[in-house]
Symmetry: C2
Subunit: 370 residues, 2 copies
């Protein structure tokens, strides 16, 4: 905040709210905010009246710093929760100080910003869109432990999903089993909801990566990608694998091998001191001699998150990203190759170690055949 | 659009995009838009390059109206997808016409709006936040059929959840079974992901309505609310029930009865010609003589939606909402009463009929005892 000349920081990203205060509830669909004031000991949580008890139960904040906003500010054409929040900032005599807002965060809508500016005409606003996200880039050992637990969940779910995919089985029945595995977790701990639903593009939909499941039945000559994440205490470990039902062509098998080779080349490159774009370049170098075209977006920082996205919105494994890898940065690397109407994806979530990197999951990297 | 003097409508709400074009994918976490131009036959879908195939597969749009935005516009500090979209609007010679934008929709961030204004300095922008939402208020028979199917899913999931809740069972294991039921669906059709995760506030968390599950075990003197929605082709039918493990106090039992009485009073009031606030008043009238305080937010319009919210953001069953009920409007009515640290909720999703209303689910209304 000091580096950016920000005295008051208004946090609306639920993952940033969680990181700073512990607040964890499905309430991000209504106006809520964490106010961080540079010379105050604690942030303030401001949210809907009926959710204040959730803040008491999940945050480390003192009771006086949990401020319920009356219900009638919500879902109203006349009022906006930001009006209440702005008045509070004013009451705290902070309204003429530089205020940082997360301009490009989901849940900080154009109206939210307009309401804020209207109520605080003397304030100077600064874009602090990914200020806290960048702080979260390097994980603590505790966060790494959460991601390891998430990885255990996704391994189990992937095994269940791959087992379940068979001719005559509906996509929805595969995903039902996957969800069950992700949520019930292990004997030692349960799983949390992933920020993105499990995806299972199949057949010609494997080139349409973000379609969700249907109740279509797999046929005896089918193809699917399972794109899942385990989630533990909001920390994610995504993992993708591709499966062919029945025999597939030599080209597809070669392509799958190439995808795994590219993945390995990129993972071998990832270590402290190397940049994000160098990791992507290693992938591209491994696949380009074989004439395969691929966009340059190989992955992204990953950790705690909420719907609709589990990506960190900071460092990306792609051309032009100069971020230098450091120990305990964590990424989801998603090599993808397309062949006509079929897509192949073999992804890994990894952390940068002192000397290289290690994946969270330990899962065979290949095209699965059934 | 004509009534609002809007020539070009930029739709960013995924449920509105779905309603108008059929587009259905988990891609709302990146810039995507449906452009509706008042004198063009078809809307245009503009989204991320890798998702254009999903638009081909799910929409009824002609191929020429599916426009992929290059990958390098995304997750960039230099560019914004809205820059690409704005240029396209300009190329279409529409940039000096009145443009409607969904100012207060999730996924239309302050930055999105700023980018748009910067690229189209001659355009006039109008707030069209809930323009399409209001069009969606009255459901077609097809939509009602989807909600009936969703209701079948939630009935099954509620039965499974209530059966599974027992001393020594973890919350996550109950939710795992609930998810399985919601997604695997029936023999005839599968279920879709609900826009809000299944919620199961328990113990003192029953007054913190939007906390998600943990791996805490239920004890032999516990209390929980199951707050679920079935979802079919994005159409929701939510249902809440409260359960007490072991014997509970006479006060709680009385409160549960009162909650159901209030629900019945409100349902009996709901019919064409009555206003939303009159429905809420009937609930309040039924409970107020018994001295129970309750905020005035009794429910909201419901239908197709995407995370993070299944509410329609239009008509609300609460004080001050003059919306007149008409046949095939659909609402989720959520009577809630609190007693100290315990909360009771018994909710129903209903449609307005020609002469009254009918609930989608057929599920016993009471405090469940185990």
């Amino acid at each position: 905040m000091q580096d950016n000349g920000i005295d008051v920081l208004l946090i609306t990203d639920p993952a940033n709210m969680y990181y700073l205060s512990g607040y964890d509830a499905w309430t991000f669909y209504v106006g809520q905010i964490l106010v961080v004031i540079i010379d105050e000991e604690e942030p303030m949580w401001i949210g809907r009246d009926q959710d204040a008890n959730g803040a008491h139960l999940t945050t480390w904040l003192d009771e006086k710093n949990i401020i319920p906003c009356p219900e009638h500010y919500y879902h109203s054409e006349m009022k906006h929760p930001m009006g209440f929040i702005a008045r509070l900032v004013h009451l705290l005599s902070k309204s003429n100080r530089p205020i940082g807002v997360e301009m490009d965060m989901y849940y900080f809508t154009a109206t939210t910003y307009a309401s804020l500016k209207k109520e605080l005409p003397n304030a100077t606003f600064k874009d602090a869109s990914t200020l806290v996200n960048w702080v979260r880039l390097i994980k603590s050992d505790q966060e790494i432990e959460y991601m390891k637990r998430a990885a255990q969940l996704v391994e189990n779910a992937m095994t269940t999903g791959l087992e379940k995919i068979n001719p005559g089985v509906r996509e929805c029945d595969v995903i039902a089993e996957v969800y069950h595995e992700l949520i019930s977790g292990t004997i030692d701990y349960g799983g949390d909801y992933p920020a993105v639903a499990p995806l299972i593009p199949s057949g010609k939909e494997t080139t349409a990566l973000h379609l969700t499941w249907t109740d279509r039945k797999f046929n005896s000559n089918d193809f699917a990608i399972l794109k899942l994440a385990g989630c533990y205490h909001r920390y994610h470990a995504p993992l993708s694998r591709t499966v062919s039902i029945g025999e597939t062509s030599a080209q597809i098998k070669d392509l799958a091998k190439l995808c795994v080779e590219g993945l390995h080349a990129a993972l071998e490159t990832a270590k402290p001191g190397v940049t994000c774009e160098e990791v992507e370049a290693a992938w591209r170098k491994a696949i380009e001699p074989r004439g395969v075209v691929k966009d340059s977006y190989l992955g992204y920082s990953i950790g705690a998150n909420y719907p609709p996205d589990w990506g960190g919105h900071t460092a990306n494994l792609r051309k032009g990203d100069p971020t230098v890898l450091q120990p305990n940065m964590t990424f989801h690397m998603i090599p993808r190759l397309w062949y006509g109407q079929l897509g192949i994806e073999v992804s890994e979530t990894f952390r940068v170690t002192e000397t290289g990197c290690e994946t969270f999951a330990d899962y065979e990297r290949k095209l699965f055949l059934k």
